[in-house]
Symmetry: C2
Subunit: 459 residues, 2 copies
């Protein structure tokens, strides 16, 4: 029997899409770089289904690509010709909310926003949040160790997971559904699967750590003159604002472009650096006074040139609309958004060097910067009129060479997938990549799980 | 040449203690269960020394036991007959403090307290803290994923490490000295070494995440009637006190014993539960008012029977002296301190069941409970007059059987080492233990690193 015949016999035909029934959406993640429709799309509705499917594929040495909400940007969920996709979309639902322990157990295919709403109804916050919340799935958030905008307060995804269950390549169901903060009983297998992009196992269940739901949020838009002032303001905010939940910096050209596109004016002139500061608070006057006092002191200390405090939800949203920069994507079609990390103190120098290097090669390029500075995370927006594939690769090569020089990370939050795989050695040593290979071989000896992703082939 | 001759030839005789020159202290960690002096004690003074030493030992198939400050409680650093110990004591020092990024790079043998002081001098907090701070070493804190008393605010050790360097069994130096919050470039090797108790590699360098130094601390001692009230108070504190840094509960018999021993009286009668709440604050009147308002509201809501706010550092220390219970160890020689986790909502029931089970077998036992409730972590203090080795094993067996039933952890913060190894299957499944074995074999194929620790032998 072929692998497809075996799968249909074991799972039933309704869980195995083939041929015409495979929708176009299974071709690619949000990077839109996927070229092939999968040979088949498996849609298990139980953990047992996942186990059966992998056991069969392993026996047939059949490559399997796990797919979640397909919102990734690194090509990590794209099938090669002949790969089978395993979609978690039918393995969805919230299994338990433990209000005493502040934990939530969910199936991996649950959309992030569904989990967020369920937590909110019980007075809790799911500490993971990102723009794709409506379509991305918890399992994919773990597989890619998603970052997002609230990391400065609650950490990245791996910091908010207490336990998980994953199915190994041979069908073994590995349950590590820990619900406790302290648990020192052997190796932390959980963290091995988080961020491994489906190459070591398929995550099926997750125990999330919940946080108290903040009742109010204070937002300020701050104008600063130098990157050194940005770092000083960050350090003060981390010391004096216990609920600091966002610290987002925009470099001059990014802020100007997006404010003009949105027809919004906040300051007399565009400052060299604009920072959004947000604090989650209980909502008392005391909190607001402290927030105002913090900004007042920063102004006195000469860190701030100007600052606006949002007087309404609408005003806060206006600040964020510049930061989100959705019009930039529309006005500059084909805009490239690089996602890198560099130690916080050097982000300013890195941005200068990066702009210089890119403009040396592409004098007409539009280059701008914004980022989650508190997380060392910089996004570089690059646009070249009518850029071809070769140009895109050159942009990567120029930026990532600098990242290597700064001992930074070529992927702060987007992961490696296929698109950054051949640059992995810019951020990880040969010894590290070799250990990754050994772990991969130990857990997936037939190399069926998301092959050719993350780890480059041996030279 | 013998392995010792090879080591002396490569490292120099001053780095290789043998025979009479091996001090008694290398025999055991703080559990005092070590039986053998090591065959030799290696004291490398550079990462290169560690690499050379392991390469030689690997070639000779010579077991190596890493030793830090020897403050562990699970026998994880004890040598068997013929094992060589590798002490990190001469690989000590702070290499860098990056104030912009709030990170510190230290050598693994640096005592925790030395790192804490260096950070404080620059206005930062090392978020790891535990009683043994004066003698324990950073490398050992990572190897055991140390917990401690500030976990509720800053997490366990693994939450406060950005990067590390480890030497593998074959001498490979694996540098993952990341200094950034967001870095999604392949597998998180760092978390694999943290908590692996020296069985996968020897940690040589660490990048710690620093936090702002709190300028003041508010402390309250609260009397409560039921465990349900303890959980409700915890949930309110997590919501309303943004700087909550300790939430320590003492069950009635624990509080009574230690308060009486210390001749301290706080309440008219000993309450069923006493909780120490601490908040780290900036030190303004506003913070103190909010803290008082929080306790006032909890009293109105019927959660608190009584509460005292420390009016001085001395008074706060008096609260803590009961919690630390040092006199208990003196007055009840041979006191057993079990360290377990159970989901927060069930800790109360677990304590009742545990006391019943222990007293059924040992009617005269003194059983009391205290713990870091916010971290699901309960300590069980058990004393039996003139307990023999068999009794101690029976206490373990009774308590851990209950932990298994509650799906808890047999080791919240002390690790597995040798003393809990044969109970590992009470908290981890056969599939999980099997994956641990595969990872161990992949990284240390000759099984020279801390053999016979953590992972039980195959049946």
């Amino acid at each position: 029997m072929t692998v497809i015949e075996d799968l249909i016999a074991a799972l039933g035909a309704d869980k195995v899409l083939t041929g015409e029934s495979i929708g176009e959406r299974y071709r690619s993640d949000a990077s839109m770089t996927g070229r092939f429709l999968p040979l088949a799309v498996l849609r298990p509705s139980s953990v047992e289904d996942v186990s059966i499917a992998l056991k069969i594929c392993d026996r047939h040495r059949q490559p399997v690509v796990p797919q979640g909400g397909l919102t990734g940007l690194a090509g990590g969920a794209n099938a090669r010709s002949g790969d089978i996709a395993l979609s978690l979309e039918h393995l969805s639902g919230i299994e338990q909310i433990d209000t005493a322990a502040a934990t939530m157990t969910v199936l991996a295919g649950t959309p992030l926003e569904v989990a967020q709403r369920a937590a909110e109804e019980r007075g809790f916050l799911v500490p993971i949040d990102l723009g794709a919340r409506g379509s991305c799935q918890i399992g994919g958030n773990l597989a890619t160790n998603a970052g997002g905008i609230r990391v400065i307060r609650h950490g990245v995804t791996r910091d908010n997971v207490l336990g998980l269950e994953a199915v190994l390549a041979d069908g073994t169901v590995l349950s590590s559904l820990n619900r406790m903060t302290k648990n020192n009983t052997g190796y932390d297998l959980r963290q091995l699967f988080i961020g491994s992009e489906g190459t070591l196992g398929i995550i099926t269940r997750v125990v999330l750590r919940l946080r108290p739901l903040p009742t109010a949020r204070l937002t300020a838009l701050c104008a600063l003159e130098t990157y050194g002032d940005v770092v000083s303001l960050l350090n003060s905010a981390q010391r004096d604002l216990p609920g600091l939940s966002a610290f987002e910096a925009m470099w001059e050209s990014y802020f100007r472009f997006n404010a003009e596109a949105l027809k919004l004016a906040f300051f007399d002139r565009t400052p060299p650096f604009t920072v959004i500061i947000e604090e989650d608070v209980a909502g008392s006057d005391v909190d607001r006074e402290r927030f105002e006092a913090f900004l007042g002191k920063a102004f006195e200390d000469g860190l701030l040139a100007d600052a606006l405090i949002a007087q309404s939800e609408k005003e806060a949203r206006a600040f964020w609309s510049v930061r989100e920069g959705h019009l930039m994507d529309q006005l500059l079609p084909g805009l490239v958004n690089l996602d890198v990390s560099v130690p916080i103190g050097q982000l300013g120098d890195f941005a200068v060097d990066c702009e210089t290097a890119l403009r040396t090669r592409f004098p007409a390029a539009h280059v701008s910067f914004f980022g989650h500075v508190g997380d060392s995370n910089l996004h570089v927006a690059v646009w070249i009129d009518a850029a071809g594939e070769h140009d895109l690769h050159e942009i990567d090569a120029i930026a990532y060479a600098l990242v290597r020089q700064y001992q930074g990370s070529i992927s702060a939050e987007h992961g490696i997938g296929t698109l950054k795989r051949d640059f992995l050695d810019h951020s990880r040593s040969e010894a590290e990549i070799n250990v990754m290979r050994r772990i991969k071989a130990a857990l997936d000896p037939n190399a069926i799980l998301n092959p050719a992703k993350v780890i480059p082939p041996e030279a």
